[in-house]
């Protein structure tokens, strides 16, 4: 009180909040780092004691175990086996997401229905499915297939001979498969999509100018179908694209390694610079740049460091750039092989009916039609039914969350029930539904990992076989985690992208 402090603006370090904060953080970080270091060094010595290490070179080693289904049944290396597992996992994920969305939306609408019995059936479905662990359900479907479904017999196979077979060996049904002209037709479809979009926008603009109905949607859909139908017949014309793909592949082939490295490093630094610029812009006020806190400075510094780190890594690890060049070359080569001037013979799609054959002692499904094996059936049914129950609740919640005043206002304006749904409720509900829907897709992708319980060879099941044979459990678990993180981040990136486009612009 009586003595004035000599240096008023100098705070001693033990009273300086910024200093205290950072010393605490650094202390904790070094604590965590220390524990991690101790654990990793312990793991290293434990691994050395049993003659293993952290390296990943076992991926190229040959393996001798069969895989029950997938792009190959006799993989020639660990990497090849894991790749088969990954594709098997993606098969279930993609088809499961499609089916679960359709079923989930139907059940969700049923849950909103005024019809008592439909409502109760939907409620019963949801309450049954979501309260039983998914693993129990998957194992149940597997046991159900094995114990209840009929054996496959060449005479009595059914229920609809030639179209749909259901038996202990799985489900086989008629299907359309891509044929020789498929890729060229796909090019037409893509073109059609662009044209449809342009047509839709033009008609919409015309509608806004004139105020009269311009049938924008019909125009868009019509344009797309025109391209699809015409493309079906003249798809060989698109064969000229093959030359383009070949040219791109050739460019990849002659690209020097350093070129790719410089490009990737530049990309990383540009991304970091873009982030920093955007961040600084967000801190800019009409009165100029706001004072940056230590947190802000850290963010900027961290972004810069990460950008630089990735750029450096591109030069330290030339394998990444090399792999990217190889991959690009092969990717476009593959494309080029699918296109040929004036076609490779045959239509875009081929229809195929399933058949039962008897090569040995037991009858089997032939290699026509689309066949779900029993493990695939168990996992797919399990994740689809389970996710659909959650999606139904998401849909119902989204629709009910649209304020009542909105539909009242719509009705007061004289909209029909369909118009009300189409223009007032669904657009608003979709905005609410999208983020939790994306979450459900993520859950579905992760839940496919339970396939290991019914011996469906997804990446987890193949991985367990690999580490049982090679002992490289550490590496396999890291590969799993890396793969699932990639899938999760990809799905959430898609959802975030659409979500940002749909968000209300708040003023």
């Amino acid at each position: 009180m009586e003595k004035q402090p000599k240096q008023q603006h100098r705070v001693p370090p033990w009273r300086n909040v910024t200093f205290l904060k950072w010393s605490l953080q650094i202390l904790v970080l070094s604590g965590v780092g220390l524990i991690a270091y101790l654990m990793i060094s312990q793991a290293g010595s434990n691994l050395r004691a049993i003659g293993l290490d952290f390296s990943f070179d076992f991926l190229d080693k040959p393996v001798n175990f069969p895989i029950s289904e997938g792009i190959t049944k006799q993989p020639d290396s660990v990497f090849h086996a894991l790749k088969t597992g990954i594709i098997n996992m993606l098969r279930i994920t993609v088809s499961g997401i499609l089916a679960a969305t359709i079923l989930g939306v139907m059940v969700g609408i049923g849950r909103l229905s005024g019809n008592w019995i439909i409502n109760k059936v939907a409620t019963g479905y949801i309450e049954t499915i979501r309260n039983i662990p998914l693993l129990v359900q998957i194992i149940f479907w597997r046991a159900f297939g094995q114990l209840v479904l009929p054996a496959l017999d060449i005479e009595t196979a059914g229920p609809i001979s030639g179209w749909l077979f259901i038996s202990k060996k799985g489900v086989s049904f008629a299907w359309l498969f891509p044929a020789n002209g498929f890729w060229q037709w796909l090019a037409f479809l893509t073109l059609g999509l662009f044209v449809a979009r342009i047509a839709y926008k033009k008609r919409m603009r015309l509608k806004e100018e004139r105020g009269a109905e311009t049938y924008a949607i019909s125009w868009g859909v019509g344009a797309f179908f025109l391209f699809a139908v015409v493309g079906w017949f003249i798809h060989p014309v698109m064969g000229f694209l093959g030359w383009l793909w070949e040219a791109i592949s050739w460019v990849f082939g002659i690209l020097p390694l350093w070129g790719m490295q410089v490009f990737l490093a530049g990309l990383a630094i540009a991304a970091a610079a873009w982030f920093i610029k955007r961040f600084l812009d967000s801190r800019r006020t009409p009165a100029g740049l706001a004072k940056l806190t230590d947190d802000d400075i850290f963010r900027i510094g961290f972004a810069g460091l990460v950008g630089l780190g990735i750029a450096l890594a591109m030069f330290m690890l030339p394998g990444v750039a090399r792999a990217l060049i190889d991959w690009g070359e092969r990717f476009f080569e593959f494309f080029a092989s699918k296109f040929e001037w004036l076609g490779r013979g045959g239509g875009p799609l081929a229809f195929s009916q399933p058949a039962v054959v008897q090569p040995g002692a037991f009858s089997n499904y032939g290699n026509t039609g689309l066949t779900m094996t029993l493990p695939f059936f168990a996992v797919w049914t399990g994740v689809t039914l389970y996710t659909a129950a959650f999606i139904a609740e998401v849909v119902r919640g989204g629709v009910l969350a649209v304020e009542k005043g909105q539909s009242e206002a719509g009705l007061a304006m004289g909209l029909s029930r369909f118009q009300l749904l189409r223009f007032i409720i669904l657009p608003q509900a979709f905005r609410i539904i999208l983020p939790p829907l994306g979450n459900q897709y993520l859950n579905l992708a992760k839940n496919t990992s339970l396939a290991v319980a019914v011996a469906y060879p997804d990446i987890v099941a193949v991985g367990t076989t690999v580490f049982n044979q090679t002992g490289r459990s550490v590496q396999v678990i890291l590969i799993w985690m890396g793969f699932y993180l990639t899938v999760s981040l990809t799905i959430s990136a898609f959802i975030n992208f659409y979500n940002r486009r749909l968000q209300l612009v708040e003023r």
Binding site: Q25, L47, N115, I132, F390, N447, S449
Partner: protein
């Protein structure tokens, strides 16, 4: 996996049909089933589909046993003998032509009763002849009369070889479940020590009973609502009985009972609604729960007395009755405590401590029965650190500790961290894990002292808490290092007990982790935010099964090679780490929902960041996310089934591998899976209903 489950539930209020319509059945049917032509057609089609589905399920569930007539058999008597010989051979694993010792016991697949082989019986066919005359076996053997009755044959009709005929018994092996009830409950736990299991469950029941007191003053349910449920349940029950392939006598009895329940429910509801004009919450919830418990217990005791066929072992009856009594008694004791001796706050505090302690006590002390190996060193370390710590805490919690106290706290934190450094570990007693734990505890008390200290009372309670912590840490480290006095395998837990302990322990342990991670992620300190975000996003991006494999295969690698931890513990650690990340996101949602004014007001009052978090923002955040937390409990409970994949014998593995692996029950997988699905369903469904109730009570989502 069900983050949204409860949030969605809370958004949606079920719209009740107008009461008038509910009182007049015909009008109700017209309005709700046939509002338009299309809707009516849909109703009829759906109804037919439901009936078809139910019929399929029921005829699977109650499928009668059928037997094939062998080629050389034409008479009924020979057929009956053949069936019984087959059954005895299969169930008792004897050879058909084997000589039986007198005094040996044999059983049939249709019952639990064991029959002794009489002195004059030597072979299996002779034993069959004896069984056919034995009155006590009458219910369980297929006689010639049974075959005639079940297949609608003429008494002198000849059997067709190669055809199948219905015989007594079920084609489904539902008895594999009742026979294995002990395996489902605990698996390998020694039978003579079963009292320990029951004591553990008794503790949980008592805690649940006590906690019910703190739930709310007078939770009530609506009688009219229960009556409506009875109406629907009775009707469904009667429908099921109608579709099930039972005998006419049984069928009609069940249909009558179902219809009586339904009509009774409907009339009660109408009466109540006429009187009150609406659904009124007129019954005390706990009274209803106690009534239902009494009903179940009563049935359990009365049913075996009334129906000869049903046998319930007294080792099931007595403990279950005790459990119910314990829960009810605990509720009344809690009520007495609250009205006389204790404030609600004190009761809640004590309960919280009990819940937190119950898990380690049950696992370490009661189920494992530690062989305690006390050494002087253990006691000395505990006493010395405890007393020095007590003095330090007393000083640091004082109002005048000031900078010196903070400096002291910093030194203690540094000491606690340094004790884990290998180079410092030349001193043997510092190397002990209990010393490190005690120092860590002291450091956290030192950090908390400035926040919780103050007047004499606060100081005294802090010192008390520290001494209790010391005693607990010392005690637990002693029993953790010691062996067990029971004859147990390393993984002595299995079945239901394992499932419950994993779920319960997982949620208890992941709670603090989740809160810390959420605080880290919302913190203004970038390094903490970075670490928390990295952890949360990594864990949320990968499936639980990889985390469980991580626990099973990685954890042993990270630890010194002489330290072995039980498989159940590895799974628990993995589940905790996984669930912590999800909990953190829930808590973060709560933290972000708190208005900015709350932060500003507490800063204006001169609170430190720690005080603001602990006393102002965190309590409000946690209250706001209770429904999400219950959703997390449900998800965690379902997720525990995944430990079956890494080889732990939980409920699912018992149903999937252990029971169908028994020679007597090969091929019973589907029955057992249906059973565990039902068990899981009952648990999760009641959780989610309870969560809805809590939400309504808290008034969340109504603002």
């Amino acid at each position: 996996m069900s983050d949204e489950q409860t949030q969605m539930d809370q958004l949606l209020e079920v719209e009740e049909a107008p009461l008038v319509a509910q009182l007049h059945p015909m009008r109700w049917i017209r309005e709700n089933l046939f509002p338009s032509v299309l809707s009516g057609i849909l109703s009829v089609v759906t109804m037919l589909a439901i009936i078809g589905f139910l019929y399929g399920v029921l005829s699977w569930v109650f499928a009668p046993q059928r037997a094939l007539v062998p080629e050389d058999v034409t008479t009924l008597d020979a057929f009956v003998t053949d069936i019984l010989v087959d059954d005895l051979v299969r169930t008792n694993r004897v050879e058909p032509d084997q000589l039986l010792d007198p005094g040996e016991t044999l059983r049939l697949s249709t019952s639990e009763i064991e029959w002794e082989v009489p002195a004059d019986v030597g072979s299996v066919p002779e034993f069959v002849a004896y069984l056919l005359d034995e009155p006590s076996a009458d219910e369980f053997v297929t006689t010639a009369d049974d075959v005639i009755r079940l297949n609608g044959l003429d008494p002198d009709e000849e059997l067709v070889p190669g055809e199948t005929y219905r015989i007594q018994g079920s084609a489904r092996q539902w008895n594999s479940i009742s026979t294995n009830s002990r395996n489902y409950f605990t698996l390998a736990y020694p039978t003579e020590q079963y009292i320990r299991i029951w004591i553990s469950f008794g503790i949980l029941c008592a805690l649940i009973g006590l906690s019910a007191v703190t739930w709310s003053d007078r939770p009530r349910v609506s009688g009219a609502r229960i009556a409506r449920k009875m109406t629907v349940f009775g009707a469904v029950f009667a429908g099921v009985a109608l579709l099930a392939p039972w005998s006419f006598k049984v069928d009609s009895a069940f249909i009558f009972a179902g219809l009586a329940l339904s009509v009774g429910g409907f009339l009660t509801r109408r009466r109540l609604l006429r009187r009150d004009g609406e659904e009124k919450d007129d019954l005390p919830l706990f009274g209803v729960v106690a009534f239902v418990l009494a009903l179940i217990i009563g049935t359990m005791w009365l049913l075996p007395m009334l129906v000869d066929k049903i046998v319930i072992a007294s080792t099931t009856q007595v403990p279950l009755t005790m459990m119910a009594l314990v829960a009810v008694a605990a509720f009344w004791i809690g009520k007495g405590l609250r009205s006389g001796l204790m404030s609600m706050g004190a009761l809640k505090g004590i309960l919280l401590a009990f819940w937190a302690l119950s898990m380690p006590v049950i696992y370490m002390v009661i189920l494992r029965d530690p062989a305690i190996d006390l050494t002087v060193q253990d006691i000395a370390i505990g006493v010395v650190i405890g007393l020095i710590g007590a003095a330090l805490v007393w000083f640091m919690a004082g109002p005048n500790a000031g900078e010196l106290g903070k400096g002291l706290a910093a030194i203690l934190v540094l000491l606690a961290l340094l004790s884990w450094f290998p180079p410092l570990a030349g001193v043997t007693w510092l190397e002990l894990i209990k010393t490190k734990l005690l120092l860590g505890g002291l450091a956290s008390f030192a950090m908390a002292a400035a926040t919780f200290g103050g007047n004499q009372r606060a100081r005294a309670s802090m010192v008390g808490a520290w001494l209790a912590t010391t005693a607990l840490v010392t005690w637990f480290s002693i029993i953790a290092e010691g062996g067990t006095s029971l004859n147990l395998q390393s993984d002595f837990l299995g079945g239901m007990v394992l499932t419950v302990l994993l779920a319960f322990g997982g949620i208890l342990l992941s709670f603090p982790i989740g809160v810390l991670l959420a605080l880290g992620r919302t913190s203004t300190m970038p390094l903490f935010r970075l670490m928390s975000t990295a952890y949360i996003e990594t864990v949320r991006g990968v499936p639980l099964i990889t985390v469980l494999f991580f626990g099973a295969l990685f954890l042993p690698l990270f630890l010194p090679s002489d330290l072995r931890i039980a498989d159940a513990l590895k799974a628990l650690i993995a589940i905790t780490g996984f669930s912590g990340a999800y909990l953190a996101e829930n808590v973060r949602g709560g933290l972000q929902s708190i208005p900015k004014g709350q932060y500003e007001a507490s800063q204006a009052l001169g609170m430190s960041t720690v005080q603001m978090t602990l006393f102002i923002t965190l309590p409000q955040a946690l209250r706001a996310v209770i429904p999400a937390l219950v959703g997390q409990v449900i998800a965690l409970f379902k997720d525990t089934s995944l430990v079956a994949i890494v080889g732990l014998a939980d409920l699912l593995l018992v149903a999937r591998a252990i029971v169908p692996g028994q020679p007597a029950f090969i091929g019973s997988q589907l029955e057992n899976l249906v059973f565990v699905a039902l068990v899981y369903w009952i648990f999760t469904f009641s959780f989610s209903r309870a969560s809805l109730r809590i939400e309504r009570k808290l008034g969340l989502g109504e603002r």
